[in-house]
């Protein structure tokens, strides 16, 4: 106990040195928490953007649909199934889709396109489709009109109010043909989707493709996206082997890869930050050991065991590093919260580039407590690891040499 008291008193003998060490730790925690939460926030937002393009967090298909995306691989989708799946705690909503390819034509042009029959309200809950509307009006459930993606509308030279024609193959080989008025134009960030997508209400699409009660995919929205894998497993258990449950990571492995690459780059930046912090803390330990060389030698000379002296050094380091960590976390909480509420926002040309690809040009921070804990523990570990230097110096102190003046 007296050793703890002595360590505490020693902290205040050179207030400047203690303040410098604590500041180094404080800024390390503050910066690393902020950088970490910004990283998590950016990637979380990026994933949110990507899933809200079209895919959603999870899709359910009949087994084999993903490899052969044809209507005949559709599944029966009724309210009983939806009710069963909504029992899973993290599932907040389901949006059925009936998707296939067809030919779209106006009197000026004909192109291939993706025809998606959707429940307009449910689809909006999952992919915020309504937000992508740039002209005209959004669909209603019983509408027999169509929404066109901006690029597709340009390619076939169609505008709102124009009539378009669809021809394709329906369920079990039936011929599908229909005529619809363009109710609205939606804009996607993804050029691929923007150039070829057309939306119908689900009843209209079912009628067009003779696929009553059939859905090719069921898009799942989640309460907590962090529980993605757990939810996939829960859905798989509930649905059995006749269906395939795919997370957005499985649907878009290239996007996952991109995020992982960016995440690794951020790790290098954080690594450099940790190195700078380590040098800062080490510098103060170095200074401390030079200043106290004589005192430590004296303590050994009068009979203080080196193990006790090492413990004293470690307790002092723990006080300093822990103090800096706690202050850093306390200050970082309001800072991270502020930038979560008022995210960093890009402007000008860069923002336009982001928006062109469907990403919001904002960088919110993540409020995940994991980040605070992880960064705090990492800096604490660095500090404690560096406190081995004073321990090493104590072990190697030769009192006769060190007491020489």
């Amino acid at each position: 106990m007296w050793l703890i008291g002595l360590a505490w008193k020693n902290l205040w003998r050179n207030k400047t040195r203690t303040a410098i060490t604590m500041s180094a730790v404080f800024f390390a925690v503050l910066l690393s928490v902020f950088a970490g939460s910004l990283k998590s926030g950016i990637f979380g937002n990026m994933i949110k953007n990507v899933v809200s393009f079209y895919t959603g967090y999870i899709q359910i298909h009949k087994k084999g649909y993903w490899n052969e995306q044809v209507l005949d691989n559709g599944m029966i989708c009724d309210s009983a199934l939806e009710h069963r799946l909504l029992q899973i705690p993290n599932v907040t909503g389901l949006a059925p889709r009936l998707e296939t390819f067809g030919l779209i034509a106006t009197n000026k042009s004909t192109k291939g396109c993706l025809v998606a029959g959707v429940d307009p309200e449910k689809e909006n809950e999952v992919t915020s489709l309504k937000k992508k509307l740039i002209r005209g009006q959004y669909l209603n459930f019983n509408d027999t009109e169509a929404l066109l993606s901006e690029g597709l509308a340009e390619r076939i030279k169609a505008r709102t109010g124009d009539t378009i024609y669809i021809i394709g193959q329906g369920y079990h080989g039936a011929t599908a043909a229909g005529r619809y008025r363009v109710k609205g134009i939606v804009k996607f960030g993804s050029p691929e989707l923007n150039n070829q997508t057309m939306f119908l209400s689900l009843p209209a699409a079912s009628e067009l493709f003779s696929a009553e009660g059939i859905a090719t995919s069921l898009v799942v929205s989640l309460r907590n996206p962090d529980l993605l894998d757990e939810t996939v497993r829960a859905l798989e258990q509930k649905l059995g082997s006749e269906t395939e449950v795919m997370s957005w990571e499985a649907i878009m492995p290239d996007v996952k890869q991109h995020i992982e690459t960016d995440s690794n780059n951020m790790k290098y930046v954080q690594g450099i930050l940790y190195m700078l912090v380590s040098f800062g803390i080490f510098g103060t330990f170095l200074m401390m050991m030079v200043e106290r060389k004589n005192e430590l030698a004296m303590l050994i000379a009068i009979g203080m065991k080196k193990s006790k002296l090492c413990l004293l050094m470690v307790i002092e380091s723990v006080f300093t590093v822990l103090g800096g960590c706690i202050m850093g976390i306390l200050v970082s909480i309001p800072l991270v919260w502020y930038f979560n509420q008022k995210p960093l926002r890009l402007g000008g040309e860069i923002a336009k580039v982001y928006e062109k690809f469907g990403f919001e040009a904002i960088f919110p921070t993540s409020l995940s407590p994991d980040n605070f804990v992880f960064q705090g523990i990492t800096v604490l570990a660095i500090g404690l690891l560096l406190s081995l230097y004073p321990v090493y110096k104590v072990i190697n102190t030769d009192p006769a040499t060190s007491l020489k003046r």
């Binding site: 007296w2 002595l6 008193k9 020693n10 205040w12 003998r13 004589n294 005192e295 004296m298 303590l299 050994i300 000379a301 009068i302 009979g303 203080m304 065991k305 080196k306 006790k308 009192p399 006769a400 007491l403 020489k404 003046r405």
Partner: protein, 248 residues
Amino acid sequence: MKTSKPDSATAAKSDVVIDTHNISRVYNPDTIPVYAIRNVHLHIKRGEFTALVGPSGSGKTTLLNLIGGLDKPDQGRILINGTEITALSAGELIEFRLYNIGFVFQSFNLIPVLTAGENAEFIMLLQGKSKKERDARMKQLFREIDMEDKMDRRPGELSGGQQQRVAVARALASKPQFILADEPTANLDSKSASNLLDIMDKMNREENITFIFSTHDQRVIERARRVITLVDGEVASDTNVIDTSAPH
């Protein structure tokens, strides 16, 4: 005061505290050997008040370090109260010093964050003494150094002389076999040095505490009852001063 050669027969007596046998300390033994201490035989009895004198570089501090177990000789044996400290490991030496040797340093070396009382008490904390024992000893020691009213002062609030008196109290707190003092008056003005010497002299006479000083200070040499002169690491002379002022 009269002087005489020390009686070699007394060295064999059982009250010999420090007994060095032909000790040598060599620096740079593989390149250009420098003998800091060469073939020193010494016997110091309990209650002696001994000064190690000699010019700078003569080996006074090295000899003190060897006797204090802070350094090891390259040759020879050192026995403290019958224990051969040259055979002890570094860890055992620390433990040995804690219970047997008191140190007073030239630059006081008090712990600045502790009060005078806590500094002196520190060594007893290391020994694991109870609070009651520590308090009683502190009271006694600070009375002896005439600083009872300054126990709560930090070293920075004390004069050099007072700090050195606290250092003496710290050295005595563990009830050691003897006290080694390396140039204890070097950083003190003459009045403080005289006060300090009075205290140590009194403790030596009244409590039979053994003191060994290394010093250049003529005032210390005059007070010593045995003066060992080192030249180039060897004992050039070893003189007992017959103190006529000593009580009979």
